[in-house]
Amino acid sequence: MTERNHGGWRRLSARMLLVHPVQELLRAWPVLVGLVVAGSAGGQGSWWSLGATAAVIIGGLLRWFTTSYRVTAEQVQVRKGLLRRQVLTVPRDRIRTVDVTAHALHRALGLAKVEVGTGRTDRKNDGVRLDALHAGEADRLRAELLHRAAASATGPAERPRETLLARMRPGWVRYGPFTLTGFVTVGVIAGVVWRSLNEAHVDPRRIQVLSALLDRFGRTSPAVDVLVVTVALLVVVVAASTFGYVLAFHGFRLTRGDAGTLHVTRGLITTRAITIEERRLRGVEFSEPLLLRSVGGARCIAITTGLRVGRGAERGGSLLLPPAPRAEALRVAGAVLRDDAPFTRTLTGHGPRAARRRFSRAVGVALLVVGVAVVSWALGVVPAWTWQAALVLVPLAALVAADRARALGHAVVNGALVGRRGSLVRRRSVLSCEGIIGWNLRRSFFQRRSGLATLVATTAAGRQRVEVQDVPLEEALRVAEEALPGLLTPFLER
């Protein structure tokens, strides 16, 4: 159904004319609920919101009429904009990733959104974004953009073979509760409910169930109240985290295509298919958040140019393996880089001076807090229990410091720089030395006094940097020389 006109310009799917209005209505539903429940009592504000929604819907419809794209032998072009006509041009050899996403509405209508990632990581809204095409068309486009080498060798009709690197096992769901995404979900839901109540001008105290609960709380002791609320919150968060895990990672598959691409597909309701060109892959981050580490889990994130590491459970599409057993994560990380050694080799520790620095920083901050609390108590500003409670921070800080000191490590293994650090999130970053652009050698006043340095390898991929934290200076220079021979040589004095 794709319309073609001269010059090979193609339009987005006409079914998007249905999707946009529904999407905007869903987004505005707290306002609508307010209007329906409370009539016009909502006053001017609600009508303004409704008007804005209508404007957005019309804008969305216009977007379909004004957007078109084409793929030529050298480049991908997108024309868009009504008043300000824009033509985006992306040379095809600069395409690093193709990301195909379909949420529930898209899937109901057989559509998919295509995002093309380039190496321009310094801007937020770069690259080409086509929302949305027919699912088949999106798949074809992805193959066209990334499998071109294989296509020219074997003929366009043949689908490139893929080898399976990892797939979701049902047992992995047990790691869901340890991802903390539930807190975010609960927060978002609470926000939506609160806004709906507000718009509908419903007083929460007038809802019977709630007022009954509040009454009961009023009669029991505060300790019991705190316990009940904590347990209830915990149950809700665990349930939400588990549900979120299934939602995001159901049917997860990681495959490698013949044409040198990595392919991730996942998602229960919103499906996502991400294709990463392997020659843009600069390394893999093996990360173990504290909670996940405590139950023997880990996850893997790709360090790729063109895919900046985002926030949230999905890490902006660069996630290679969702929270899974540690052994499985190690295997997948090794398989992706075709080399296990960087993930299994014992790392060089950073020694007692680095450990002392971790302790003095963590415990120092804790003591500072206690000191401030004691002074405030002495001045009569706060009650005595504040500094007594603050004392708990000291052993906690010491524990975190010990864990952080233990995490520090680095190595250069088979042409890759390995750096490990962190306690709350322990990361072992493996960056191919070819991906290292330059070095930043950071030395704070206190680092200089203890002969330490933080060596930062800058790169265009992933988080843009890999840090070797608090390493003795001589070792930092040795690592830099080993990873990129010759770059430092003119500046070294022997």
């Binding site: 600069r94 190496g119 990581t121 310094d122 140019t305 652009i437 330059g438 070095w439 930043n440 050698l441 950071r442 030395r443 704070s444 006043f445 200089r448 002969g451 930062v456 800058t458 790169t459 265009a460 991929a461 988080r463 843009q464 940097r465 200076l473 001589e474 220079l477 010759g486 770059l487 430092l488 003119p490 500046f491 070294l492 004095e493 022997r494």
Partner: protein, 194 residues
């Protein structure tokens, strides 16, 4: 340093730029333990000291003014206010006097045919090294007060968002020549540099 003598000879009256001592261990900002990785060869313009002093003053004056206004408006607690003012005065004076001198000794730069090498900071210091072949853009910019002092900054970026090399407080002509030199060097190389 190769092929870069022209900058030194061209900037008359600014001997600091030609300083070739490589930062002996006597300089307090650079310690003897760093003997193995020597600092970059060139200092920035001496005029930068004045600029940094002015900027530090500009940062402290509002604080002092705010404290004075509070003292006058409050009426009571005079000993506390005076103690606060003295503390601010001592800290501010120390910062305004020490920081620019210290910074001047630390801020250094060097360009070889293979790499750009910078050192910056004062209390906390950082050295950055990037290969010429990985340079993506070379910018120079001057703020209003920097223009007053005849200074300019040069920023060398690579494909990594973590690693722009900034040379602050360069003499204006030296900055122009540095930009010309670097853009000449990088335009010859057409690879992707990521």
């Amino acid at each position: 340093m190769y092929g870069f003598g022209d900058i030194c000879h061209g900037t008359v009256g600014d001997n600091a730029l030609c300083s070739d001592d490589g930062g002996s261990a006597k300089i307090d900002g650079v310690e003897a333990t760093e003997a193995r990785l020597r600092p970059p060869r060139h200092l920035v313009s001496r005029k930068a000291i004045g600029y940094w002093t002015l900027r530090a003053l500009g940062g402290w004056l509002p604080v002092v003014a705010g404290q004075v206004a509070w003292t006058l408006g409050d009426g009571g607690h005079l000993p506390w206010h005076l103690a606060g003012l003295v503390l601010t005065g001592v800290l501010g004076a120390a910062h305004v006097i020490v920081m620019p001198q210290w910074r001047f000794r630390v801020h250094r730069w060097e360009v070889t045919p293979e790499a750009v090498y910078t050192q910056s900071g004062w209390f906390d210091q950082e050295r950055r090294i990037a290969p010429i072949s990985r340079i993506q853009t070379v910018d120079s910019e001057r703020g209003p007060f920097e223009q007053l002092f005849g200074l300019a900054n040069v920023t060398v970026t690579t494909a990594s968002a973590a690693g722009p090399l900034k040379i602050r407080g360069l003499d204006r002509e030296a900055a122009e020549r540095l930009v010309d030199h670097l853009t000449e060097g990088t335009s010859a190389d057409r690879s992707d540099a990521t």
